[in-house]
């Protein structure tokens, strides 16, 4: 089969075991819930945006190794980024996961997130890797609304 080591890279396992930024945020400007019913993964994303810049980002929830690591690495990658940069990154990430194996990921832009390129070999797991990102999209969409109406 496609090599498991491509999927469960050391970096990914490290983030699964010790997820970064995994906590609630009391002064978030936006939150969103994500759910993958296929595997039961649930994630809650917290965002603090000021002047179009992600000042802080964190998550809570329970998920598989891939979605947990993806959430953890996403939060690390996005801190300090502008919403426009976030959008560009999301698009690259999504393109990487949905393009053929022989296409090299855009390492320049994706940087560490390129470790998820192995997920392409496991089509049923692509949703695990993108769950945190889709949840982020939902949070950004609601960003200008007060959190209390969430």
């Amino acid at each position: 089969m496609s090599d498991l080591r491509d999927l469960y890279q050391q970096t990914i396992l490290d983030h699964t075991r010790k997820p970064r930024n995994k906590h609630e945020m009391s002064d978030a400007t936006a939150t969103a819930d994500g759910h993958n019913p296929l595997c039961g993964d649930k994630i809650k994303l917290f965002l603090k945006v000021s002047n179009g810049i992600i000042e802080d980002i964190s998550f809570t929830g329970n998920g598989c190794a891939i979605s947990t690591a993806s959430a953890s690495m996403m939060t690390e990658a996005l801190k300090g980024k502008s919403l426009a940069e976030v959008q560009a990154l999301f698009e690259r990430f999504h393109t990487m996961l949905t393009s053929p194996m022989d296409r090299d990921p855009d390492i320049e832009v994706l940087d560490k997130l390129a470790v998820f390129s192995g997920v392409r070999e496991f089509p049923v797991r692509v949703k695990c890797a993108t769950l945190p990102w889709h949840t982020l999209q939902a949070a950004i969409k609601h960003e200008h609304r007060p959190v209390s109406t969430e």
Binding site: Y8, L38, G40, C64, A65
Partner: protein, 423 residues
């Protein structure tokens, strides 16, 4: 290396599962000869759907090749042959579950449609505002949601029987829920997520003592146990063909004739009428009243042949063999450190749900798949049950009579591989 469990089993004199010729049986299933990821397939997701024997596949091909025609309509031979095969399947089902009459067998798409049929017909006639319907915490969504829809329409209330930590129905709780407001008990015979076999005879007796009808969801029991609806004593029994070596899209509802006779039709259309005029229509007799439109003829014929096949092996022999496999698999899985089995009732069908410390079921599923072992991971359409155990999901191995100890060993080895990856 031989484990003590293996030695114990090897030293046993009692009738061996090997008396059941699994090697020969496996040859009847083309799909079991295939490979997955370059390895022989160990198919352990039988609770989701079973594989199909060549006899069933051939019967379907024969229908389409030799006597494809619509039923109950033509005067020509082809149609008569198709009708005979379709109605013959109904009789086989009746005998298989010891129904008093084949008239009491209604063809449906599967267990889900059967429950929805009962809710939409019998339910709408008999369930009123403030009435109570009893289900349990271990029900498949298909035996929860149709009742929720009915409750929403009628103002009825769902009461939920709790389960014990071992995954057994709490009989005390069940008894305490039975009241003069209870109009229906709808419970599963065997849990698809844990394998628990519920004491349906007692469940029915307790309800009937109060004059309450009982629907039994037999989707997971009929593939593994001999079924006798008269002995169970229930009023409705539902199942799907595809878990029983038959094609998808066909299943059956059994109900007592007097209930079916009083129930209004389910869907309107051809075949279910006796006469149609614009001033009103009258209904065909039971069971045709419930079978509007052209049914899944090939599916019904396939289901009949699947039943012949299983009857040939003997449901008692199947149950015995699967129980031996379950014991073997349970002993081996229990030895794996960090693995916890969810559902440890003494009476179980061959379903083993488990979770592993710090490893999500979805990751278990992917890694064992790489070893050619197909198991299910997720909530198994039992979200309330997952909530009960406070887990998001489980990994589930569900065994059938064509599985072997080698399949079990392959699963165990694959789980060791999971641990290696996550060490």
């Amino acid at each position: 290396m031989t484990t003590t469990a293996e030695k114990k089993i090897a030293g046993r004199k009692a009738p061996k599962p090997d008396a059941f010729d699994v090697a020969a049986i496996r040859n009847d299933f083309p799909l079991l000869q295939t490979q997955s990821h370059g390895k022989p397939l160990a198919y352990l997701d039988n609770a989701a759907t079973s594989q199909k024997p060549q006899a069933v596949i051939a019967a379907i091909a024969r229908y389409y090749t030799n006597y494809n025609a619509n039923i109950h309509r033509g005067v020509y031979k082809l149609s008569a042959d198709a009708t005979a095969a379709y109605e013959g399947a109904r009789e086989k089902i009746a005998r298989f579950i010891n129904a008093p009459s084949a008239r009491e067998i209604v063809f449906v798409r599967g267990a889900t449609e059967a429950v929805n049929l009962v809710a939409a017909t019998w339910g709408m006639d008999n369930i009123h505002s403030g009435d109570e319907i009893i289900v349990s915490e271990m029900e498949h969504h298909s035996n929860i949601v149709p009742w929720q829809l009915l409750a929403r329409r009628t103002g009825a209330i769902l009461r939920v029987v709790g389960i014990t930590d071992a995954g057994e129905l709490s009989m005390e709780h069940y008894q305490s829920l039975l009241s003069e407001r209870t109009r229906l008990v709808a419970l599963t015979h065997v849990s698809n997520a844990m394998g628990t076999i519920n004491p349906v005879d007692r469940i029915v007796a307790l309800a009937h003592a109060r004059g309450i009808p009982v629907l039994i969801d037999g989707a997971q029991s009929i593939p593994h146990l001999p079924i006798d609806v008269q002995k169970i004593g229930c009023d409705f029994f539902v199942f799907s063909g595809h878990k029983l070596c038959a094609p998808t899209g066909i299943g059956a509802l059994w109900a007592r004739y007097d209930l079916l006779d009083k129930m209004p039709p389910y869907q309107g259309g051809g075949d279910m009428i006796s006469s149609v005029t614009f001033s009103g229509s009258t209904w065909n007799e039971v069971p045709h009243k419930f079978e509007a439109g052209t049914p899944h003829i090939a599916g019904a014929i396939g289901l009949g042949v699947a039943i012949d096949y299983l009857s040939g092996l003997g449901m008692d022999a199947i149950a015995r063999y699967e129980h031996e496999l379950l014991t073997d698999a349970t002993e081996k899985l229990e030895k794996i450190s960090g693995l916890r089995i969810i559902g440890t009732a003494p009476e179980k069908a061959a379903v083993i749900s488990f979770v592993m410390e710090n490893i999500h079921p979805h990751d278990i599923g992917t890694i064992v798949d790489g070893e050619g072992v197909a198991i299910r991971t997720g909530h198994h359409c039992c979200q309330p049950l997952m909530d009960r155990y406070n887990i998001p999901a489980t990994a589930r191995a569900s065994l059938a009579f064509y599985n072997t100890r080698e399949d079990v060993d392959r699963l165990v080895a694959a789980i060791e591989k999971v641990k290696e990856v996550f060490n």
